[in-house]
Structures are given as C-alpha cells and as structure tokens.
Subunit: 378 residues, 2 copies
C-alpha cells in the first residue's frame, strides 16, 4: 500500500465520513498532505478555513493521535477485506457526484466488485419497522431485480433493507450493503447471518475502518453513499420522518431516479412514501418492470465497460505474473485459492489483483475473480 | 308543467342520455321543436345531420311512438319525485360544462337540493368488487367529508359507491346518488335499503324516467354526470379497466380535480389508482383533509349563493301564496305536509315550490324545504 492509500485509510478513522472541509483539504494538499495539516495545524495559504471549521481540525488531531491505521489494515487483511480509493479500478466514479461529500476511501468485504456491481444497480431501502406487506414487496422486488441482472444496494438494516438483501440473495444475484459501521461489525446482531452470507457471496461496504461501531449520525451520512452508488432509489416503506426518506432526498439531489411504493393509507409505514408522491418527489412503482424502466438506459452503461489491456503480459513483475498464471482458464476463483497456487500470502495476492485489474487482465465476478476476455485471448 | 318541460321529460325516454345530436337539435329548435323534428323526420335548414345520425332519428321516432310521458310523470308524482330542467332554480349550472353531452332533464327523488348540494360536493367512486380496505376508506372519507359540510356524490353501485353513500349517511350529511336507472328502480337489489334511506333523507338522480331498468352502456354515460356535478372525483379503488376510471377521465376532461387513493400494490383493486398516479392523471390523497384542500376554494362558492327575493309577496297568485303561508316560521317541512296545510294536491305544491324557490322565498334544506332568511324578514 502506498503512502497516499495509507493516508486515506487513516483519514477514514479520523474524520466523520464525507466531511466537506476534509475533502477540500484533500483536494488542495492530497491525503498525505491532509494528515500533515491535521497533525501540524498549519493551514496552507489559499485554503479558506472558517473559525468553526478550525475546531473540527482540532478534533481530528486528537483522533489522529489515537488512530491505528496499521491495525485497521491488519484486521482488514485478516477477514480478506480491502481498501478502495478514488482512482482505483474498483472505485465507482458515481461517487464523485458527491463532490466535497465524497468518501475518502471505502472498506470492502466480499467477492463482489463495487464498480461493476454499481453500474446496473438500484437501491431498495425503507423502514426498519417494516410491515409484512413492505418486507414482502422489498424482497419480491429485489429478487426480480437480481433476476434481471440488477444489483440491489441497501443499508443492511432491519426491516426493508434486510428483506431487500435477502430477496437478491434468493435469486442468487449480487447485492451490496453499505454499512454505517465497520464491515466486520455485525450490526444489527440479528442480521449477522445475512452479513456472513453477503461477505461470502456479495459485498459489504463501509466508509469507516474495521471495528467501527455504529453511531446514530453515521446512518444518515451513510445514506448519501447508497444514493450515489445506485441509478435510482426505491423507497418501499417509510414512516413520516423515516431515515429512508433521507436516502430518497440524497438520490434527488444527485439527480438519481427516486421511486416509492404505494401502500394502504391506513398503514403508518407508507405515510412517508405517500408524502413523496404528494410532493411529486417520487415516481410511483408497483412492479419491478417499472423500476427497470425508470432506471434503465439504452447505451454503453447497460453493460460493464470493456477493459483494454494496457500492459503486455511480459512486462508484469514476476510476483504479479505468478498470480495471473494461477487463474483458471475459465470461471472464477478466490484470493485464497490464488494465494495457494501462486505461493503468495493473501495481502500480496489482494494487492496484485488490484494491479492486474487495473491492467485489464482480471475482473471481479459475482463469485470472485476471473480472467477478462481480453486476457484470455493474449 | 309547461309544454317545454313535458317535451324534455319525453326526450329522456326517447334518446340515450347526453346524445350529441339531440342536444344540437334542442339548441336549434327547443325541446318541443326537437319532438316535432323526431316525429316528422323533417330536419330544418341550417341543422347539419350526417347520414349515420339520421339513423338515430329513426330510432327515436320508433321509441317516441311508445313513450308514455304522462305515465312517467304520474309515476314520479306517486313517489314524490320531480323533474328538473335546464334553467330551473335547482338545475346545477355545472352540468352546462358538459356542452352537447348535457342531460335533457333530470328526474329527482328525495328532499335534497341538487343545485345547492352540488356546490360543495365531491364524487367518491370506485370498484364494485371493493376490498374491505377500499370500503373502509370510502366510508371513512365520505363520513369526514359530510362532517365538513361536503356533499358526497356517487353512483349507488355495490362496493365503493355504497360505502361512500353509507359513510355520508352515518355522518347525517347530504349524499347524492346518480343512477343509470330510474330513481324508483332499486338496482342493485342489495342496495334497496340504502336507496330507500336516501330517498327519505337525501337525493336520487337519474337522466332516465321512472321505471327505466339499468343498461350496461348507461353506466358509462351516467359517469359524466357524477363528474360534472362535483368539484372533484376521488377514485378509492379501481381495477385495471374499471368503469370508475371512466368517471376520473370525465372529471379530467371537465377540468375537475381528479384524486385517487393508493393501496397495496398486491391488491388487484388498486391497480387502476396506481396507473393514474403513474400517468400523473390524479392527485394522491390519503386523508379527507387532502381532498378538501384539493377541491376547496376561497370564495363565494364555498357557501350557497344568497337568494334575493325578486317578487313582492303580494304579487304572488293566491295558490302560490297559500303554499308559502303553509311554511313554518322556523325549520323545514315536506311537500306532503305543505299540501295538507295549503289544501292543495302534491303536484301543485311541487310546482309552486319551484316558483317560490325561483322567487327566493323558499329553499331546500337537507330534510325538505324551509323559508329563506330573506323571506323570513319580509
């Protein structure tokens, strides 16, 4: 891991996710430079910082003293996680729409590919206190969407979120949970089995380092990532002041499609959806086809963009080449198997996989990694 | 009854309601003239009639030969009904919005006042095969609307319509049923008790003469009257191709407010409502307050327009004066009681009531007729 990546990993432990000031500092001085500025409290000329913002810098300095980025990375390696930074092949460019609310980096767990998975994705979110009706609708929609090749993104919460993830899993489709806590922290506890299954087959994502426990404010901040990653957000059920309405609001701000599901007017958990309709802030969706119609576009982004090899195979360093050669000719494999075949440790394999993906040799598959079509033919 | 009224009564038995050609003929030659044209098949110069339309004239001629307008009026008198024609004090000017689809006349039964009742009215309509959810919503909305002083108009059908009428009755409020059959024909039979109650306390309306049995096509034609009479139409439940959607469509064409109630997407009877939302052809309403907000207007039409006496009391003819003097100083009374007190027959009393209403001396009350404020003070 280079110093810029280590710096970004550290920043995820130091500041609240998506801080406007920190993003401004990173844009000005880079992530390493940002750490220096936090450490020394020396604000460079040309970087406007208000008095109130300077207080935040003080707060970060205290947190930085206690940060243990090496430990975070070690923990992450232990469960086969990875860090994805802006500019990485797996970094979804859709997140750049967040501007100075962009994540500094993302911690990932599971074989799913964040960028490819996000290309054709829909967020299915809603109330934690879902009704049986809402849970059924969320799960049916997610199952249908997964069946049609769409990735279902949600927040891993109780109620609608869990139903959506489970529906996608039932269709053996990809699903991504964007968590407000570390990707290794099973919160809520009753979703522990779901998270384990998703870590094995799909993808867990967090802006916070491993071990981070959930915090009320972070749930709202997290919602912007769900909204930004997906083409559109479907609100299945929401009470009058539900946090899920916040995801819909982010989706609207980001120019994503906002959809909601009608329900009985006698149900508390549909009040938020109906309010969106009355404000003309959401499209009414009643079938998964209507969701696909709303988010689907004719064009290149309906299929993952092709990777063109940029490095000839013989210019790869021996270690990277060993990992590439450990790949089966057909089908997908996992980092652990690759490590065994290539005679390398898991950390090295994960790093090499990043390089190979950037070079267009390999790509993520729903169940691990595989050779690209281009790599097979060279 | 003057000849023009008799002619209009006859026409309701001869042609299908709201016929464009017949309205054109009436506009050109009057109702009596229209009967002459039908009888003689002599189309005056300046009245364009296509070949296909001429066939309709032939059809009317045959029906005219079998029409028994005297019998219709006799039957109507027997149950205390009345005929209301364009220009009558009780004729709702809102019906003129129908243009050449305007009713020729309306047959009424019950003490309610059609014109006053229509001023602050909402149509609450929907599926005959209503779900328990839909029936409950229709009845709750109607009850609330009646409570707020709004007249609930519907079609007297099974399901949503009946629930709406019953909800208004439960609040002791005014409600009007516009029927596709004669106001003395209890169709559907299971609503017989409801119709009897409405005839006693409210109002039944039909474009067809007493004794007319329902006919499939007339249900659709009838819907335009429901839409035109009311400020707005609330669709509570509707299947994909429900007739109630036709009422919503008329309401839209007439510039009335179209509202619909969301429901579970798993319910067949909410499909039509959700389709309207997706076409942005209806406002989402979830509470009666939202209905009132949509149809209510600040201005004179929120209260019945004041009647100013146009005739001094001593210029009334003795018979009319007798009916006026039979009125109690306070409260409402019915035509039967007036007939007894004035020593006149019911037909005469009904005719005199029309005159007295036109003169601003009396007005309809929810439970009959009463002196106007102006009449009390003269």
């Amino acid at each position: 891991m280079n110093d810029e990546r280590i710096a970004r990993a550290t920043l995820t432990a130091v500041a609240e996710p998506g801080d406007v000031l920190l993003n401004r500092i990173i844009a000005h001085a880079g992530a390493e430079g940002a750490l220096d500025i936090i450490r020394t409290a020396r604000i460079p000329h040309g970087l406007p910082v208000t008095g109130k913002e300077a207080e935040r810098l003080d707060h970060w300095r205290i947190r930085l003293a206690g940060a243990e980025p090496d430990l975070d990375r070690e923990v992450c390696d232990r469960f086969g996680g990875r860090l994805v930074c802006p500019g990485d092949p797996e970094w979804p460019t859709t997140l750049d729409d967040l501007g100075d609310r962009r994540p500094y980096a993302l911690w990932l767990r599971g074989p799913g590919d964040l960028r490819n998975g996000g290309l054709r994705s829909v967020a299915v979110v809603g109330s934690r206190a879902a009704s049986p009706y809402g849970s059924r609708v969320a799960s049916d929609f997610a199952c249908d969407l997964a069946d049609k090749g769409w990735t279902v993104i949600s927040g891993g919460a109780l109620g609608i979120d869990a139903a959506a993830h489970r529906g996608a899993l039932a269709a053996d489709g990809p699903t991504i949970a964007v968590l407000a806590n570390g990707v290794d922290v099973p919160y809520p506890a009753s979703n522990e089995g779901l998270f384990a299954e998703m870590a094995r087959r799909c993808l867990l994502v967090s802006e916070s380092p491993p071990g981070t426990h959930p915090h009320r404010l972070r749930f709202l901040v997290r919602n912007r990532v769900i909204a930004a990653l997906s083409r559109g957000t479907v609100l299945v059920e929401a009470e009058a002041r539900s946090g899920a309405l916040n995801t819909a609001s982010w989706a609207r701000k980001l120019g994503r499609v906002v959809m909601a599901v009608p329900g009985p007017i006698t149900s508390r958990t549909s009040v938020g959806c109906h309010a969106l309709f009355r404000e003309q802030a959401a499209i009414v969706v009643t079938r998964s086809e209507e969701i696909v119609e709303a988010v689907g576009r004719i064009g290149a982004d309906l299929a993952p963009p092709p990777h063109t090899p940029v490095l000839p195979r013989d210019r790869l360093d021996p270690g990277t080449r060993a990992v590439l050669e450990a790949f089966p000719a057909r089908g997908a494999t996992g980092p652990a198997q690759l490590a065994v075949k290539a005679g390398a440790d898991l950390v090295t394999v994960n790093a090499k996989l990043g390089l190979l993906a950037a070079g267009g040799f390999v790509e993520r598959a729903p169940t691990g990694w595989r050779l690209t079509e281009a790599a097979k033919s060279t």
